[in-house]
Symmetry: C2
Subunit: 112 residues, 2 copies
């Protein structure tokens, strides 16, 4: 089965994961919860490639998790802010943060 077919799965967990259950997407949300909103901020903070970042942002906007907002007219610049729908995933990230702190100690040097 392809991942893309998951958005109509009977299981609500699967449908949620069809939006945020890939590599990187939840890291974008983490940055949003930390107050970041700009493309360059996400790119630098997460270490993901600009290619993938652009794709994921597009999808998050399509799904109504983020909103693309014009914040500068000249030159045209857009950033990304959480919608209410996006805010409601915050508790899940909080649990992952606590779980990581407890169960996933850093072994080598931190990189980013």
């Amino acid at each position: 089965m392809k991942w893309s077919e998951l958005s109509d799965n009977w299981c609500p967990v699967a449908r949620t994961l069809s939006v945020v259950g890939d590599r990187w997407t939840l890291l974008i949300l983490r940055d949003c919860y930390l107050g970041k909103s700009k493309f360059e901020e996400f790119a630098e903070s997460s270490g993901m490639t600009r290619h993938i970042l652009a794709e994921r942002l597009k999808r998050l906007v399509e799904e109504g998790v983020l909103e693309r907002r014009l914040y500068s007219d000249a030159p045209k610049r857009y950033d990304y802010v959480l919608t209410e729908k996006g805010e409601e995933l915050r508790p899940a990230l909080r649990i992952m943060k606590d779980w990581g702190k407890k169960h996933m100690p850093v072994r080598r040097e931190a990189k980013a």
Copy 2:
């Protein structure tokens, strides 16, 4: 940046995601929370390929999220059960379930 380098990130969310933040892994955990434990159960329930399933189970065992358990001597058969570490991610899945119910309605026919 490669995904595999994420396990030593400074951010505990990133470290958590280095284990469960890919396509399919959280779906395995969902099945575990629903009481499933067998390879064939996971394969059928999630719709993922056996190839990927085997890889993900191996990783979850390595990370101490699941435990591989001999449940039949002849023929040798193994299944997978949650450790305490694995149990502690359950609340995150619960949030995703609620989020999916609220924000991700099924559009077409359910498949699996």
